[in-house]
Homo-oligomer: 226 residues x 2
Amino acid sequence: MTEPTRDRTGDEPIPEATVARLPVYLRGLLELADAGVETVSSVGLAELAGVNAANVRKDLSYLHAHGTRGVGYEVGHLVSEISLVLGGGRPSPVVIVGVGNLGRALSRYDGFVAGGFPIAGLVDADPAVVGRKVAGTVVRPVDELASLVAETGATVGIVATPAAAAQEAVGHLVAAGIRSILNFAPSVVAVPAHVDVRQVDLATELQILGYHQHRRTTGDTSRAAG
Amino acid sequence: MTEPTRDRTGDEPIPEATVARLPVYLRGLLELADAGVETVSSVGLAELAGVNAANVRKDLSYLHAHGTRGVGYEVGHLVSEISLVLGGGRPSPVVIVGVGNLGRALSRYDGFVAGGFPIAGLVDADPAVVGRKVAGTVVRPVDELASLVAETGATVGIVATPAAAAQEAVGHLVAAGIRSILNFAPSVVAVPAHVDVRQVDLATELQILGYHQHRRTTGDTSRAAG
DNA sequence: GTATGTGAATAGATTCACAGCT
DNA sequence: AGCTGTGAATCTATTCACATAC
């Protein structure tokens, strides 16, 4: 409260729940910036993100993003701060393992490139798929993964294989030096402690919806969950 | 009748965090059942699901699933109980709005059918796409959504449109009577209180990974997050 | 001996409510 | 007046530890 001590970028731990909301704030802020809006209040940002305003303020207090009392937050400033925290501002090239239906769709998804996650390359274990051109990129064999990562500086791996092949795919990625993995395969995978895995499971999401639906139709006084 | 509080299926509220883990347990249990395993301990199931064993026990205590002390849980029984809680055992047909890259991939994803979520139909706002056959189904125009839902008994909607079209797509789904929606568009959507929306946002997931990666490389004493 | 079931303890996240700045 | 920033209160979730049952 007297001296502005240790102020290194990203040195304080930001709660996971906050980190998960930052991308949503960022999206809303980019829309505002596009529309020429220069300041936004916590209430305004809360509406865009679908959360509570006090939550927004507390979240932003973890960053080095301060607002002006009586006015609000400067949109451009928030965009910079959040972008910095989420990946340091540099693009993170992505390698995709598994070029089935989902892998192909992901490789063509332009939201990745726009969000700073260009596709560095595609690999597949199936020789019938290797060599084919998908979304402008030639699919390479799995044993070239390490060199692909080295060449392109890829930092993120996406697993889009069948469940049975997911653990092996993760092993290849880790061996190639990748430490951030997004796993679309419906399978819990084991990784060393220094590797970060996030699971995106479509069937699981549907089943969670199924629970609430089932409850709504059989139970009585239930409350909708977001 | 004056019968006391008997166990109506799904009458107690199950914590959200537990609901989100049940599909993961179910997957592991189905694997065990396939392998002919008949009982499993909370420790065994915890390993399969990647969580703490006490957590498994507490989660299962919310269901009507009891184990045998000194032995464990009966795999077949758990499968039935969890399946029942997650959607009542009946299949929930799914309509997909938006037949771009992602919509096509989802419509071909066999995990849905296997998990009790058959594709009831596809719709798209683009006349150039309407009428084309995707994954064995003819794409229908958005204004046929209500009749499609009525015909097929679809209970779940998947939004796979661009962000700008997501709110409108959700509006159509709600108007057609759908009350469970899985939104793949990177956009916060507003829905009436009786409608349940879950967001699956690929760019957001990558950005969360980006935060941890950035922290690992710039910060020092950090701990890996699951 | 082994494994469940659960109260108690701990940790984490959200929301409230208001002091303090512009 | 309006809006941020944050301690305190509340709610939710996880983990521990052990009595209880097989």
